[in-house]
Amino acid sequence: MNLVTQGKKEHPNNILTEGRSLLKVNIREYGMYIALFVIMLTFSILTDGLFMSSRNISNLLDATGYIAVLAVGMTLVIVIRHIDLSVGFAAGFLGAIAAILLSQAGVPVYFTIPIILILGIVVGLFNGVLVASLGIPSFVASLAGMLIFRGALLNVTEKTGTIIVKDEHFNALGNGYIPSWFKLNDLNFLSLLLGVLIIMLFVYFEVSKRRDKIKYQFEVISSGMFTVKLIFVSAIIAYITYIIAGYNGFSWTVIIMLLVVMIYHFLTTSTVLGRHIYAVGSNPEAAHLSGINVKKITYIVFGSMGLLSALSGILFTARLQSATTTAGTLFELDAIAAAYVGGVSAAGGVGKVTGSIIGAIVMASLSSGMNLMGVGISYQYMIRGGVLAIAVIFDVMTRRKRS
């Protein structure tokens, strides 16, 4: 084995060379973070720091929430070589149902949310049946679903028009912030605490992962490089926490987004279910012959997509404090774009949920930055389209280089 730990000599020059080679090998993964960094830096300069202000970053992340949760589900759908175009209007429709239950039927919020989430799962499973059991191409099946939900959304909202939601607890999901307890130098204390907790968790997991790798004599980065990485990422988390704590602190939307990412990250990387999903994506025939129930996996992935569509609908309705006739328009394409920018492969079997979240944030940053600069909406679409194309070109090129 040629996998001996390097890291005996640790002068800065070595770390630089190592950094360069690490970057070369992991260019696809790091590329995304670098792109995000460059985008944020550029906008900060162009807007005299307005972009990185507490208020803007908070708003940006809140506005990403309902797309980000869709992007997480979409990642898995694309990983198993399918697509779901129905999620946008499914989210819009389910959000409208939530508004009706709350405002017109008078169902309390703690019943409404589980009902909507379960409805979402049912919707997703229905798509799963079409795709897995009837063998309809997912593009067509979900295109049909998209039309049906669009109609359904119009149907439930056309009599009343926009449905206002007055429930404070529900609306807090889209607009509210976690309590502060008390202010520390004008900073939100609980949010700071949360940031510290995240950093501690991050460091703990990274260190124990590295310890395991060393135990099995796997290749690891040098301890110098490792320290640099830990400090770098921790500093970023700390900085973002600091920015957010300077405004209203973490919003419930961001907390929900973080929870979804953490759960899905765990599911996809550490569980049998996750392995099965990636196995089905990389070779469905081989997966079937390995005793994996491909149909069941397809149901689960579409079911989870439905669940997250419902969540997205809830977040969006709460954010607007109302259900509108056009809610959910183009959400699905934003989610698909976020997943591709985040490194999902259309060939299946490749893609991380963390990547898709970064992809969603990249796209949201572009919108937010250009809005601050007063770029016209026509140019905004073109620029975002260009970024999507560049991301995929970059992906294809780096993959080709590797093989």
């Binding site: 290749e219 025939e285 079937h288």
Partner: protein, 506 residues
């Protein structure tokens, strides 16, 4: 003018840090059939890719002299223009287009800027005649068997006025009949003055057809053997390929003792609703503990279908008959049911439906038994690493680490990973479908040794194979299949090539 149509002088080719070819010299005389032999990874395919312009001029060192001129092929079409055509193992035909459209694909006969279909069909007929293929040119490619598809490929090459025809393992997917036809065609083309380079793993073919044979090993030319001087023999080829003598390529087992019946099937019939016909007909078969049962037969005789109908019926055939595992009747609805009863199936097409090529060795080995490395559905990474490392070393998988992507391994090592995946399931019966197809002699020997070791550990094996040598060398008992039915059962003592072929062609 020299006698050589092709001279490749001092060819070297490097892939980031890895030397694939080092100073290779390869000379082919006009009008000969020249075989190129070597273990997998010896550099045969790379050499042919250099020749055909897949690796463009300038990315390799050395000279290609074709018809006395130094050539600089920048792309594949340059070499095609010069008269070089290459036919790959995986055929490059369009299954949903007709035979004539395929023959002239990319080389359309035009009148003005419009395709002249009448002339195309007429020309296609001529080409088909030349290759001795009697089919209507308007038939779709997907409706032809592999053997006939191969002939269409050759017809396509002929339509481009090929002078040098290169065939990469042309008979790997063919049965003995089709193989013989193909070899005869090559002899016929030789008479017409077409030079041919053939890459092959089947030594018998090489011996029967080659005028010359060049052996590559580790990216270097080892020797060129001359058939006219009687130099092309199994011994010389194998010795030069592996650099050592393999006394017996089929390792012997010491003490054979068979126990009770592990698997038995009675009056077993499978109907494929997609094809609309029976693929397995009234099969009776059993396997005892500690036995290697060989299933011989030609391609398409229903062997793979039989194996799949036993292994949880993944293609949803309609089944009839009885399936007993250790004497108790079973009906498997899904491969996972069969796995639960201790049956494992290593598929014949390891790239197509055996392995997860984009994943690493570790995930491939654990794929069929994630329960073994997890607790409450959560994977224990450390245990997985331990398991994968164990199999990697016990099966001698040659790779830098268990985090190596399986798609980057050689055929033999991929096969070992594939077997490792199934061994980790802990089966009592292992079904091996063409276990040594497309892998080199050294790796074959290793696979046979692994099989013997498994038997010694108390496992049973069903081995499906098209190679008679392997069937005769490894089996304890042989079933011969043809047209979905078992035509004969032979104890190893009574079996020989002749009686197996007799049953197989019934």
């Amino acid at each position: 003018m020299s006698n050589y149509i092709l001279e490749m002088n001092n060819i070297s080719k490097e892939f980031t840090g890895v030397k694939a070819l080092t100073d290779v010299n390869f000379k082919v005389e006009k009008g000969e059939i020249h075989c190129l032999i070597g273990e997998n990874g010896a550099g045969k395919s790379t050499l042919m890719k250099v020749l055909s312009g897949v690796y463009p001029y300038g990315t390799y060192k050395g000279d290609i002299v074709f018809e006395d001129d130094i050539q600089a092929f920048h792309k594949i079409s340059d070499s095609v223009k010069a008269g070089i055509a290459i036919i790959y193992q995986e055929l490059a035909l369009f299954p949903d287009l007709t035979v004539y459209e395929n023959i002239f694909a990319g080389n359309e006969i035009k009148r003005g800027s419009v395709v002249d279909w009448n002339k195309t069909i007429a020309e296609a007929k001529k080409m088909l005649q030349r290759v001795g293929l009697d089919v209507n040119p308007e038939v779709l490619i997907k409706d032809l068997g592999v053997g006939k598809q191969q002939l269409v490929e050759i017809a396509k090459a002929l339509s481009k006025h090929v002078k040098l025809l290169i065939l990469d393992e042309p008979t790997a997917a063919l049965n003995e009949n089709d193989s013989e036809n193909l070899l005869n065609l090559l002899r016929e083309l030789k008479k017409q003055g077409i030079t041919c380079i053939m890459i092959s793993h089947k030594l018998k073919e090489v011996i029967s057809i080659a005028d010359k044979a060049t052996v590559l090993r580790d990216g270097r030319t080892i020797c060129t053997l001359d058939g006219a001087k009687g130099e092309i023999t199994e011994n010389t080829i194998i010795r030069n390929m592996v650099g050592r003598e393999i006394e017996d390529i089929y390792p012997k087992r010491a003490n054979k003792s068979f126990g009770s019946k592990i698997l038995e099937i009675k009056n077993w019939t499978a109907y494929d609703p997609e094809l609309g016909r029976h693929v397995v007909k009234d099969v009776n078969l059993h396997v005892k503990k500690g036995e290697i049962v060989g299933i011989a037969g030609l391609m398409g005789s229903g062997r793979t279908e039989l194996a799949r109908s036993i292994f949880g019926n993944p293609k949803s055939y309609k089944l009839q008959g009885e399936l007993l595992v250790n004497g108790s009747p079973q009906s498997f609805k899904h491969p996972k049911d069969a796995i639960k009863e201790g049956i494992a199936y290593v598929t014949e097409d390891r790239k197509g439906d055996g392995l997860f090529l984009i994943q690493d060795i570790k995930s491939n080995i654990s794929a069929a038994n994630l329960k073994g490395i997890s607790q409450n559905g959560v994977i224990n990474d450390n245990k997985e690493i331990r398991v994968a490392s164990d199999y990697k070393s016990s099966l001698n998988v040659k790779a830098p680490s268990i985090e190596q992507i399986v798609g980057n391994l050689s055929g033999g090592n991929q096969q070992k990973v594939s077997i490792g995946k199934w061994l980790y399931v802990g089966p009592q019966l292992l079904i091996l479908d063409e276990p040594t197809r497309g892998i080199d002699v050294g790796a074959k020997f290793e696979i046979y040794t692994i099989m013997n070791k498994l038997i010694a550990d108390g496992m049973s094996i069903i081995m499906i194979s098209s190679e008679l040598g392997e069937i005769l060398g490894m089996s304890d008992r042989i079933y011969v299949m043809a047209e979905g039915a078992i035509k004969g059962e032979l104890p190893i003592e009574e079996a020989n090539q002749e009686n197996i072929m007799q049953f197989a062609t019934q």
